[in-house]
């Protein structure tokens, strides 16, 4: 996923409607400089939850970049509102949450509010661009349950812990793989490799 900062690949944010929410002038200023540098022209700058709700009600947005606004975490409230109350297509808009620090009491809220990605400050422009491209391409399904509305969080299949599942057949498969590996290892010790592989 890492983008090369020297890449000549092109992307176009000119026509994308970007909603920015940050209650501090300092945070908003940094965010604006980054996204305008990346080429975004149509910005809705919101300094409060109410302004953000109004912007998302009146305009179609293509991406929202929302500060968590610790310690109250009003940014999470906005994302929850967007997912549950806003009209289509805004309710499905990609959301990047920026956070300076997440208090322990807000970790679950941050996970469950319905954002696509959480970006820790300080934000490097390349990281912001990588995440924008990622959320645009990902095409993750949206999940509606009684307790959660937002992009499906199961987007990365890393398999079971330690690579071994808990089903009987998983354990049997792991045992036979371990046995085969042991046989190969014994064979390798007896016959030294002719050539070492460069990685």
């Amino acid at each position: 996923m890492a983008l090369d900062v020297a890449s000549r690949a092109r992307f176009n944010l000119e026509r994308a409607a970007v909603l920015l929410l940050d209650e501090t002038q300092l945070g908003m200023s940094i965010l604006v400089q980054i996204v305008t540098g990346l080429g975004a022209k149509q910005l809705y700058r919101c300094a409060s939850l109410e302004e953000a709700k109004a912007a998302a009600t009146e305009h179609e947005i293509d991406i929202a970049i929302v500060d968590a606004m610790a310690p109250e975490g009003k940014g999470y409230d906005f994302v929850e509102w967007l997912r549950r109350e806003a009209q289509e297509p805004n309710c499905y808009a990609p959301v990047l949450i920026t956070t300076a620090h997440t208090p322990a009491s807000d970790i679950v809220r941050a996970r469950d509010c319905g954002g696509h990605f959480i970006i820790k400050k300080p934000i490097a422009p390349i990281v912001m661009l990588e995440r924008i491209i990622w959320v645009a391409k990902a095409g993750r399904p949206f999940l509606f349950t009684g307790t959660y509305v937002g992009p499906d969080r199961r987007f990365r299949d890393e398999g079971p812990p330690d690579g071994i599942g808990r089903r009987r057949e998983d354990i049997a498969r792991a045992e036979s793989a371990a046995k085969a590996a042991a046989e190969i290892a014994t064979h390798d010790i007896e016959t030294p490799p002719e050539r070492s592989a460069a990685s």
Binding site: A9, R10, R15, G39, A104
Partner: protein
């Protein structure tokens, strides 16, 4: 029974990013860097203003646990995180993250440690100077992380 519904939306953003024109990645990143460079003076002034608020907040602290006062200090420190990088004093971001960790842990434990809070406020002032040698800054940060880490361990043990 809980009902679960899946929707497969097609965000317009993907199409927009691919429309002709736009910028090469390298140029966009350079533009963003220049933009951030342009706001460095105002950013530094705002970060210093936050530091002064934090110093005043520290001096007004009572000698026992005061959740509201700690929350106020947290609200000041958290606003500064991210600005250090822009102002060319990236270590300030690390120090402020440690400060926010500390304040969060103290609030969770309902404890007060004037010295731990004070050392973070003084370090913030010290790290604002770009003349501080790298080794010295590293020592300061290591010390701060040790202080906040001590309370992190207590919080973890209490959970």
């Amino acid at each position: 029974m809980t009902s679960v519904r899946f929707v497969f939306p097609k965000p317009r953003l993907n199409e927009l990013l691919r429309t002709p024109g736009g910028l090469p990645v390298a140029e966009a990143i350079e533009n963003a860097r220049k933009n951030l460079e342009a706001i460095k003076p105002t950013c530094t002034a705002e970060l210093l203003a936050l530091l002064e608020l934090s110093e005043a907040g520290f001096w007004n602290l009572k000698n026992d646990f005061d959740d509201a006062a700690l929350e106020e200090l947290y609200a000041i420190a958290v606003k500064g995180i991210g600005a250090g990088e822009v102002c060319g004093v990236a270590n300030v971001d690390v120090a402020l993250t440690s400060f926010c960790d500390l304040l969060d842990h103290l609030r969770t434990l309902k404890r007060f440690d004037r010295e731990a809070v004070g050392v973070h406020v003084r370090a913030w002032r010290l790290l604002m100077s770009s003349e501080l040698p790298g080794a010295g800054a590293k020592q300061v940060l290591d010390g701060l992380l040790k202080v906040s880490g001590r309370y992190a361990a207590e919080v973890a043990a209490a959970v």
